[in-house]
């Protein structure tokens, strides 16, 4: 039987489904029997999920304009441009 600490140390790999079958079976057994680890596992999964759904922020228009202006200047200065 895994301890809660051992379960936690494998939590990321468990959520990413990157553990081997034997370890996964042990983790599944632990999480099914330990209500606290079940909550930690469930809420960590939701944490990842809520960030994955986060809208990508676009950069401010003035920042984009200055970047493009700097690039154009650099292109113009490049030999052969």
């Amino acid at each position: 039987m895994l301890t809660c600490k051992e379960f936690l140390s494998e939590l990321s790999d468990f959520l990413d489904e990157s553990t081997d079958r034997e370890v996964r079976a042990k983790l599944e057994k632990h999480v099914a029997e330990c209500p606290n680890c079940w909550v930690v596992c469930d809420t960590t999964r939701k944490t990842i999920s809520v960030y994955k759904g986060m809208k990508e922020c676009s950069i401010p228009g003035d920042v984009h304009s200055r970047l493009m202006a700097a690039l154009e200047k650099r292109m113009a200065a490049r030999p052969g441009a």
């Binding site: 990413d16 944490t47 960030y51 994955k52 990508e56 950069i59």
Partner: protein, 221 residues
């Protein structure tokens, strides 16, 4: 102006997985940019400027510095496109350049000590779970988009730079563990360890907002 050299060297060769359509399109843009097609390079900028700006903000936490990092990273990439060999994604490469530029900004700001994303800052304390409380089934539904954005951004901003950078690349941008390691010049175990800590810390911060009503949080480990 900092005089330190910034690594724009390509990553060590590795097994190249089959390219996705997106990766093929990216590579084509890089090839066109390499032979002088400015519009192709502008397309690469448009693809990634938002992510690079966010990454730079994550590390520097300063808008002016983040803008400098954004510009310097893309200009360096443009100057050194001939060094990009396509062994990794262009995005991973530009992230690496941007991270180096951002760290230089931090070093300049904290000139009395060096700053690295590979600092040994783990104490073990940050994997201790202090709050356990079940969340609502759809926690994000409790808030409107603007409120939710503020909660999520605020939680990430409160993490140490190394944690928020690894989390952003891995869980928000969707890079693999290997790509994140390559971009940040960290070992794979270091990425995994920081990702676990970042996820647990964010989980705990969000529990304050998302826990099911009536449930009390309690500690158990």
């Amino acid at each position: 102006m900092a005089t330190e050299s910034v690594s724009t060297a390509p990553a060590a060769p590795e097994a190249v997985p089959e390219l996705t359509e997106e990766a093929k399109a990216e590579l084509e843009l890089v090839e066109r940019a390499r032979v002088g097609d400015g519009r192709a390079f502008s397309s690469l900028i448009q693809r990634y400027e938002g992510k690079i700006f966010r990454l730079a903000m994550n590390i520097t936490q300063n808008r002016e510095d983040a803008e400098d990092v954004l510009q310097e990273a893309f200009l360096k990439a443009y100057e050194h496109l001939d060094q990009f060999q396509g062994n990794s994604r262009f995005y991973t490469w530009i992230v690496r350049i941007a991270v180096n530029q951002a760290l230089m900004k931090l070093r300049k700001r904290k000139s009395d000590r060096s700053v690295s994303l590979d600092e040994q800052i783990d104490t073990g304390e940050d994997t201790i779970v202090r709050e356990i409380a079940a969340w609502d089934p759809d926690p994000e539904q409790q808030y409107n988009q603007e409120e939710l954005g503020e909660i999520l951004t605020g939680a990430i901003d409160s993490l140490e730079p190394i944690y928020r950078t690894v989390f952003t690349l891995r869980d928000v941008d969707g890079l693999s563990t290997e790509e994140t390691a390559e971009a940040l010049e960290l070992s794979i175990p270091a990425v995994k360890s920081r990702l676990l800590r970042a996820r647990l810390q964010l989980r705990e911060k969000l529990t304050r907002f998302f826990k099911r009503k009536g449930d009390d949080a309690f500690a158990y480990m």
